[in-house]
């Protein structure tokens, strides 16, 4: 067993197990913390795939921003739902069935596709970080999606501020 395979198996197991905990844990804050572990596992996978930049960005954006936002939201909306009652709806078994069926289908597809089992990856690319940076701003590359993504982020920023603003006296229903 090579060290790399060992690391992959460990990271994969941690990722999947903690993802399972995310969707099954009763306490939502715990679910959010398991989510952090899942995201960290995915970031290890990115490192194994020679995408160090994405691995770090994964930690900065997902763990540093999104997970903390989610924890914040869980804490701010506490009291609406106690952590003891059922956390799943009545048709959770149907959801489970769909998920298992979907996974079986994906697995079948992966196994039956000969290209997927090709073990040896292509030659590790040289300076992929520089390449990525250039691709994101070159006209032949992804400058349009990149700009769209920035506009999307700006719109999300403004939208989030507007939506989450506490209702002031002018609008209806000032609870505060």
């Amino acid at each position: 067993m090579e060290p790399l395979k060992l690391i992959f198996l460990l990271a994969g197991a941690v990722t999947l197990l903690s993802a399972l905990m995310v969707v099954t844990t009763r306490k939502l804050v715990h679910a959010a913390l398991w989510l952090v572990l899942t995201l960290a596992g995915v970031s290890v996978l990115f490192v194994l795939l020679n995408a160090a930049f994405l691995a770090i960005v994964q930690v900065v954006i997902y763990i540093g921003a999104i997970a903390i936002l989610i924890i914040f939201a869980v804490m701010l909306t506490r009291g609406s739902m106690d952590d003891t009652g059922p956390q799943t709806n009545r048709r959770w078994w149907l959801a489970g069935l769909i998920a298992v069926g979907l996974f079986a289908g994906i697995l079948l597809l992966v196994v039956s596709e000969p290209a997927a089992s090709a073990g040896v990856p292509a030659e590790a690319p040289g300076d992929s970080l520089r390449q990525l940076g250039l691709a994101l701003v070159s006209v032949d590359g992804y400058v349009l999606p990149f700009e769209l993504a920035s506009v999307l982020l700006l719109a999300a920023l403004i939208g989030a501020i507007f939506v989450a603003r506490p209702p002031d006296a002018a609008s209806e229903g000032g609870e505060e």
Binding site: L4, V23, T88, L94, I98, V110, A160
Partner: protein, 102 residues
């Protein structure tokens, strides 16, 4: 070396767990967490395909960056909506948010 199929199977598992979370959970924040799991699974696939199939083109990584941006804005707006709903109706249970239902 690690075969590509391992990554694909792992991403598939992660995606299905996310699907289960989205379909089965009652709390809106938990549903959002399921969506994040699915987005992550997609990202693993994109990067794995980039590494194994087209390492010369940077497309996989560039797409993953776009997914990051979408995930960040989705989390921001989604959580803002949830907090807003909570302020007005003091609930974050998805089935109780049914004003638009007939």
């Amino acid at each position: 070396m690690i075969p590509l199929s391992w990554y694909l199977a792992l991403a598939g598992g992660l995606f299905c767990l996310g699907v289960y979370g989205v379909l089965a959970r009652r709390n809106a924040v938990a549903i959002l967490m399921g969506i994040e799991l699915m987005l992550n699974a997609v990202n693993i696939n994109l990067v794995a395909f980039w590494r194994y199939v087209t390492p010369a083109q940077i497309a996989g990584q560039a797409f993953a960056i776009m997914v990051f941006a979408v995930a960040a804005s989705e989390a921001a707006v989604g959580l803002a909506l949830i907090i807003s709903v909570y302020r007005r109706r003091t609930t974050v249970v998805a089935e109780e948010i049914d004003l638009l239902k007939w």
